[in-house]
């Protein structure tokens, strides 16, 4: 069975981002990019599934030349093949989903994993849109996944608990933290990845439906204030919480 994993190349959560000079995109200078952390859970689940049911894992990614770094890491973790769906500039979620759905159909992948969200734009929607376009079943925010023949039994994280759901292939599953413990890419994996080719195609993105008109950094945090050192400061603290911070 062919299993697809859709991965994105995102700014490292540890780097500080700034708004670019056009006022509507981030300034890439000095930003390090990584494999989207939620996609690591997706890759791990695909690899585990492949080991259990004899399959092939193909990595799909929409973006520019730089995405190859993330694709190579995915291959080093153990994926078998990869396709870079080339496009330049910012895309909306629908365009990304269209490009992925097109290639998933092309690959005839019956099971597709996504991270539950990309930590760059946080739309949390590409997996579900792709399932919609393909008319695949969809389980989002999965924290447990079992495949038994054509049947999927999964657990989803919901407010205050877990929900057990069941569906059948073909399906899209979006991965939440806790689904598994992603493996490290081993040194042998890096070598093996060098021998795998990254296929490149133009992404079939279609019309955009959303455009970004502006981006702003949040207002800087106010510095903390030390009101006093002992119990005598309590009244002043209470006054400030009520009158300045307005939280009591």
């Amino acid at each position: 069975m062919k299993i697809a994993v859709c991965v994105s190349h995102v700014p490292d959560t540890a780097t500080k981002v700034n708004v670019g000079s056009d006022g509507k995109s981030i300034d890439p200078n000095g930003v390090t990019y990584v494999l989207n952390p939620y996609d690591e859970f997706a890759i791990e689940e695909a690899l585990k599934t492949k080991e259990a049911v004899e399959g092939e894992v193909v990595i799909l990614s929409v973006g520019g030349e730089n995405n190859k770094e993330t694709i190579r890491k995915s291959l080093a973790m153990g994926a078998d093949a990869a396709v870079l769906l080339k496009s330049e500039g910012e895309l909306d979620s629908f365009q990304v989903a269209r490009a992925l759905a097109d290639e998933i159909k092309n690959q005839n992948a019956q099971l597709v994993f996504f991270g539950k969200q990309s930590v760059d734009y946080d739309n949390q929607i590409v997996g579900q849109l792709t399932a919609g376009i393909l008319d695949y079943n969809c389980i989002s925010v999965a924290v447990d996944f079992k495949l038994d023949g054509d049947k999927i039994i999964a657990e989803r994280e919901i407010e205050g608990g877990r929900e057990v759901v069941e569906t059948t292939l073909p399906a899209v599953v979006t991965a939440q933290k806790g689904l598994n413990q992603p493996r490290y890419a081993s040194l042998k994996g890096i070598m093996a990845a060098k021998r795998k080719t990254i296929e490149e195609k133009d992404a079939q993105i279609g019309e955009s439906m959303v455009s970004i008109i502006g981006m702003q950094k949040p207002a800087p945090k106010q510095p903390g204030k030390i009101v006093g050192e002992d119990a005598s400061a309590a009244p002043e603290l209470a006054r400030l919480l009520r009158e300045e911070a307005k939280i009591i």
């Binding site: 190579r72 890491k73 080093a76 490290y184 890419a185 081993s186 040194l187 042998k188 994996g189 890096i190 070598m191 060098k194």
Partner: protein, 381 residues
């Protein structure tokens, strides 16, 4: 002279960093305190491929050569000097003696088990009367029928408590000869762990050989040619030590700079004081020199060029420099540097061995000056 990290090199660095950040750094203080690397970590190192980085893929290695190995060692040392010593003694000298000196059959017999970490290797050269003067070793191997009988004692053997395979050097009628000795061969025994100042998680022991029978096929290279093999192996080992120095130095710079930016005295971060800035400048400059010479030597090594002099220079400079860098890092941290709450004092202790093992600084100077004098001062390195 032109060196750039390749894409693979960058990938190795980021992956080993990711691994060490979550699997080694959190337990590094415990490894030092308990004087033991947990078995679970050794298993993970093997799974990552960190026990065979430099060897060709046909022996189960990573195929990354000396440069790849040095990058990985740098990253491991940034977290834990003991773990780096364990990997270094295993790969860079223990297994490497077989790779550098052994026949194809011997390599096929041992390297796959060593690169996979199924077995751990050690390098046994030093004896009580043969430290710097390793040529003076007294362990003997006597031919009896188609076997060799080994007798003697090896001192200060890194990994002895963990290893199943010892690349051992002994004297035969023809001169110094290398042998692969397995721990399970009758007559091999291991002394208690040495109590040390630094790299306390790395085991160091005496190894005893009493009428140990060795098959002919376990000879490393030709009878009587072992000293050269030992020296060639140490050339590679010294590059690896350079890598450990570079990794430790980069860690000291990062920790010290963060501390200096955050520690307030006289109403300002101590990084505002020129004395502190100059310490950081000197640490940075020394580290730049260390890194530059290391990868110059490692890329020459990967091209197959003889690097005996380069390796001695790298070992000498880097090990002396890391001692200074670690000392400055400690000074810059003040009392906190002296406390076991922070890793600085551990790096300070771990750095000290780097000037001693695999040839002391004085011995490196002998090697370097011999070449300089032989060439009558002509610059040819």
């Amino acid at each position: 002279m032109d060196f750039h990290y390749s894409e693979d090199n960058l990938m190795i660095r980021s992956m080993v960093k990711e691994f060490t950040d979550s699997e080694i750094r959190p337990i590094a203080a415990k490894i030092d305190e308990e004087e033991k690397i947990p078995e679970s970590l050794k298993t993970k190192l093997a799974e990552m491929g960190l026990l065979g980085t430099l060897f060709p893929e046909k022996y189960g290695g990573g195929g990354f050569g000396e440069i790849g190995y040095c990058i990985a060692q740098e990253e491991v040392t940034r977290a834990c000097g003991s773990t780096a010593a364990f990997i270094g003694a295993h790969q860079s000298i223990g297994s490497n003696a077989i790779y550098i000196g052994g026949s194809e059959e011997l390599k096929q017999k041992y390297l796959p088990q060593l690169t996979s970490g199924e077995k751990i290797a050690a390098f046994a050269l030093t004896e009580s009367g043969a430290g710097s003067d390793s040529f003076n070793l007294k362990t003997t191997a006597v031919k009896k029928g188609d076997k060799w009988i080994l007798n003697g004692e090896k001192l200060w053997i890194t990994n002895a408590a963990d290893a199943q395979v010892f690349s051992t050097f002994a004297r035969t009628e023809r001169g110094i000869t290398g042998f692969v000795v397995e721990k399970d061969f009758p007559g091999v025994s291991i002394g208690p762990n040495e109590k040390k100042l630094g790299i306390r998680g790395s085991s160091t022991n005496t190894v005893f050989f009493e009428d140990v029978e060795l098959p002919e096929e376990n000879l490393i290279g030709a009878d009587g040619r072992g000293f050269l093999i030992a020296m060639k192996t140490l050339d590679a080992g010294r590059l690896g030590i350079g890598a450990a120095c570079v990794g430790a130095a980069k860690e000291m710079i990062e920790l010290s700079t963060k501390y200096a930016n955050q520690r307030i005295q006289f109403d300002q971060p101590i990084s505002k004081f020129q004395a502190v800035q100059f310490m950081l400048a000197e640490m940075t400059t020394q580290t730049y020199a260390m890194e530059s010479m290391l990868y110059r030597g490692a890329s020459k090594y990967d091209e197959g060029v003889d690097i005996s002099t380069d390796a001695a220079i790298i070992k000498l400079y880097c090990s002396e420099a890391i001692s200074e860098v670690a000392d400055k890092a400690l000074q810059l941290h003040g009392g906190m540097g002296f406390s076991r709450e922070l890793p600085i004092e551990r790096f300070y202790r771990d750095a000290r061995i780097l000037r001693i093992f695999e040839g002391t600084s004085e011995i490196q100077k002998l090697i370097i000056s011999r070449k300089t004098i032989k060439q009558n001062g002509a610059w040819k390195i």
